[in-house]
Symmetry: C2
């Protein structure tokens, strides 16, 4: 047990504390000998304080101080002193003072760490993960995890103030219909049966609405047995909420208020609300995707009609067979070389586009290797419609709508990054609304729910539900930040007959629906209120707010499948006897 | 979509709102016809409001109101009116007003529920769990879950204010050394290997201390594959915290402050701090267990020495062979019949006691069938030592210390319940401290950690660690409320050499320790600060604070192994193809 009790943190002392006797505990961050004195930067989560050992005072401790090495854990006691003129450090909160130590206790030693504990780390992610306890000790990582804590705390306080109740839902549960692979847990009591780890608490929160809880929220772990990607983890955290007696606008307003509260209390900035809303159709038409990055323009435009007056067979055939010709104006890229354009063609090729038509905008009008196929009048129409001026480059893809959207969405982002069109200091939030309820899966030849099977159709579209399912709009909404979907939600179905009609369209016939979702259909029979909600990815939101690329920078113990950097959360071999008790064996 | 937007909740309107036009949405709780008017009790989470339909106003809605049934979900609009004299309901917060509805919309119908939605439910737990969405709609269940939410919210706010950081630890992890059975999750990416669901975040929070986070907390789900009991669930929630640079008193004070904050802000009562502390030895001696119920006295006393002056062979032989004679004074039970005492003998028999010796205290002294074996002087000594007066009953067990403790601990509780000695309005908190570090497992012939292998020995006992392990005290502490352990914690080992010595004593040799806890031993090498923490059972705490017997009353979706009341959280059959992908098959 240390004899010295901490009186202050290493980030706390100021000029007003001069002459106080203080005790600090922390890690030795650096050691310098200067003019016969030993200077130690002592670090803890709260900051750094300069500690001085003077050979005149207490020789015993001066000698010990000489033996200190980086990352030793020490307790020091001494008097706070103003730093001599010329030695103040304006980069440190404690930069006006230093502590003259007259007592030193080594609480623990440290081997030489495999990398330095400093913000700028040049070592590999693998090494950082292997020694995560040292990686997390870097002040920049501490700031990130503290930021994440604050975001969660603001979410909780905001929702608590609005009468939301935090209710825990089970982790050992039945399969949920979210489409991804479930993690399974064999049951020892019911041999041959398995729990599933939840992909979301969707059904539980709907049950809570039926049970009259009115406003529910949870910051909750969810699980998907998917392959790892930089923005994805097999276990992730979402802010999940659900409300009764509301419509889309109520949910959207509450979330906008929540985002504003996070900006206000954690980031110290204002955010403008309400966020712009785009319909799904607008988003797909102008940006080629349903999570558009609106920090820059370069909208996609459709010239399928205009090019009817041309002899360019590729365009004409594409449109004739139900395809489209759409493109973007790459402002100021008229000086791109043939090689540059070939690279762009290869780029869109990754997303299925078979070619990339281009026009450079010159004094005299559009110029290209295909100019000859387009009458003067058509070229001028294209120029005007694309808002093109001298020095611009127009790029077009002609293909099936899906391919055109995908390749142009990516091309737009690619050009914006290349030309530095994105103001990385901006947070641009938007809502995408009016999604279709169903998608048609060509391979399986059946309808699929675009969100999930509990999303309410728009009431105006109920009459055409069976007749024209693909025209039915969903009461769904996604929140998008800087081109990334933060999450989404919907008003749910509360009428049991409507739920049955939707199940039927999805090919979940009544009997099998009952086996799978019977408790929900039962619940809807006993007075389910109109309700809706949303789920936002907490890890993803924090990563974006901190303007980081990798979600692992905001999670203390990230998953990784590489055995070399597994920390403690790797799968491991288990006792065969234990497997036998669970009624399973290895293949 | 409902045309009517809620303006007030059903618990909100007061006499000052009279003449306002309001819109309420909720469930029909009851319907009464009276004097040509229809009275509806409209219920939501916030309360009940009486709604009146008058045939004079808007006949259409009066007719619709006549078709309402219990648990229909409706929206009504109307004017707030003061109730006529004599019809005020002092039991309702809204009991001074009623709303004369001029609009009614049925938002959803309800079949007749299988039980009534009221506080006092006489139906079986099975039926309640089967229709949990209706069970949770009962106002008493809503109050309990809201109470639970508030407790968690107070915990978070209190710890946030004290600079604790909420950091999430993984759910898919390696086996933790907590002693219970792990739930396993087969890994698809590493076939033949398994994740374990964590029994606690113990090792992760220690890593966080090594990483310099100083103060960590989490309200976290933990998992133990154990059989269900009323106070236990296979997945449970604990308030987990850890601090650096502290000793036992720091942790104890913070938790006492936390309990006081919960009482202040959620229960509206004061709780006296500091809580009394008992050593483990005192607790075992006076109460026979390490989680004593201190709401009543009836301390256990040891008469092993006194009875040396007797001819009672059972007592003499027991003491000679290393056993004890201990007992309690059942105040005022001197009138117990032979049958009563036989019942008590059978009761202690369940806990291994082979008999129960008794003395009734009469005017002339102790009286019993075994009086003759005890000289007058010895009997008087027993009477005095047991603080016995006329009308009392003294009960003794002679056996091995463990059996004596167990059976007397239970006997003490049994007598207290029988004689109503327990003031059930009292919350009696205490700390049990100075636990032994090790226990000796007679069956396996080896030492076991009484808490866990990371608990720090008392530094004074380090010299005798290997020599007299059973005499080494642990720096551990348990929080006890009304005879139930709410949780416990300890100061941990931060010196790698001490950790290795403890592992060695536990038979975890260096190499295997490294395979199992290598990352912890590694972490301790790089400047681990002195640290300690605690974990408290949230479900258990809430259950006790609400004075309920069953933990399932404070959890929305409890686990149960009975197929008939499984809600959604039952294990189920899965696709054999999916098992194949996981590299496992059923036995």
């Amino acid at each position: 047990m240390s004899k010295l009790k901490r009186t202050h943190t290493c980030g706390q002392l100021r000029i007003k504390d001069v002459k106080s006797t203080v005790t600090l505990l922390g890690w030795v961050s650096s050691i310098r000998d200067h003019g016969g004195l030993i200077f130690i930067d002592l670090r803890d989560r709260y900051g750094i304080t300069q500690v001085v050992f003077n050979p005149d005072k207490g020789n015993e401790f001066y000698t010990t101080a000489g033996q200190l090495r980086p990352e030793y854990v020490v307790a020091i006691q001494g008097a706070v002193s103003a730093r001599p003129e010329g030695t103040l450090n304006p980069n440190l909160d404690t930069g006006e003072i230093e502590v003259y130590a007259d007592t030193l206790e080594i609480l623990n030693k440290s081997e030489t760490p495999p990398f330095e504990i400093e913000d700028e780390s040049k070592v590999s992610l693998e090494l950082r993960l292997k020694h995560r306890y040292l990686d997390l000790r870097r002040p920049v990582m501490q700031r990130r995890l503290i930021f994440r804590h604050k975001v969660c705390q603001v979410i909780r306080e905001y929702l608590d103030r609005l009468n939301f109740i935090d209710i825990e839902t089970p982790v050992l549960t039945k399969s949920t219909p979210e489409g991804a692979r479930d993690y399974l847990v064999p049951s020892r009591v019911n041999l041959g049966k398995f729990y599933a780890l939840p992909q979301s608490p969707q059904l539980f929160k709907q049950i809570l609405m039926v049970a009259g809880y009115d406003r529910y929220f949870q910051i909750v772990r969810c699980f998907r047995d998917e392959d790892l990607r930089a923005q994805r983890q097999p276990e992730f955290t979402q802010m999940d909420m659900e409300m009764s007696f509301v419509d889309e606008n109520d949910i959207i307003q509450i979330i906008e208020g929540l985002v504003a509260a996070i900006f206000d209390k954690v980031i110290g900035k204002k955010v403008a609300t309400p966020f712009p809303r785009l319909s799904y159709n607008e988003a797909m038409a102008s940006y080629g995707c349903d999570a558009p990055d609106l920090r820059f323009g370069m909208k996609i435009k459709d010239i399928s009609d205009i090019v009817q007056k041309s002899d360019f067979k590729v365009f004409l055939d594409t449109v004739k067979s139900g395809g489209q010709v759409r493109g973007v104006n790459a402002n100021g890229c008229g000086n791109f070389s043939r090689k540059d354009i070939d690279d762009l063609t290869a780029f869109v090729g990754q997303f299925g586009a078979k070619g990339l038509a281009w026009f450079k905008v010159e004094e005299k009008g559009l110029s290209s290797s295909i100019t000859k196929f387009f009458p003067e009048e058509t070229r001028e129409k294209i120029r005007q419609y694309m808002d093109a001026k001298k020095g611009d480059l127009l790029l077009f893809v002609a293909d099936k709508p899906k391919v055109v959207s995908q390749s142009l969405a990516q091309l737009r982002l690619h050009l914006a990054q290349k030309n530095k069109l994105i103001d990385t200091n901006t947070f641009y939030f938007s809502w995408v609304v009016d999604f279709p309820l169903f998608d048609y899966n060509e391979d399986l030849q059946r309808y699929e729910a675009l969100h999930h099977p509990f999303t309410s159709p728009h009431p105006d579209d109920l009459p055409i539900l069976e007749e024209k399912p693909l025209e039915v709009k969903a009461r769904a909404y996604d929140l998008v930040l800087n081109g990334v979907e933060l999450g989404g939600g919907s008003i749910r179905i509360h009428a049991p007959e409507v739920q049955k009609r939707v199940f039927r369209l999805l090919g979940i016939e009544d009997e099998s629906a009952y086996a799978k979702f019977g408790f929900l259909l039962d619940a809807l029979k006993y007075g389910a209120p109109p309700h809706g909600g949303i789920a936002l990815g907490v890890d993803r939101m924090v990563t974006l707010l901190l303007q980081l690329d990798d979600i692992r920078e905001v999670i203390a113990f990230p998953k990784t499948q590489k055995a070399t950097c597994l920390m403690t959360n790797a799968p491991s071999e288990v006792d065969l006897q234990q497997l036998k008790e669970l009624g399973i064996r290895l293949l």
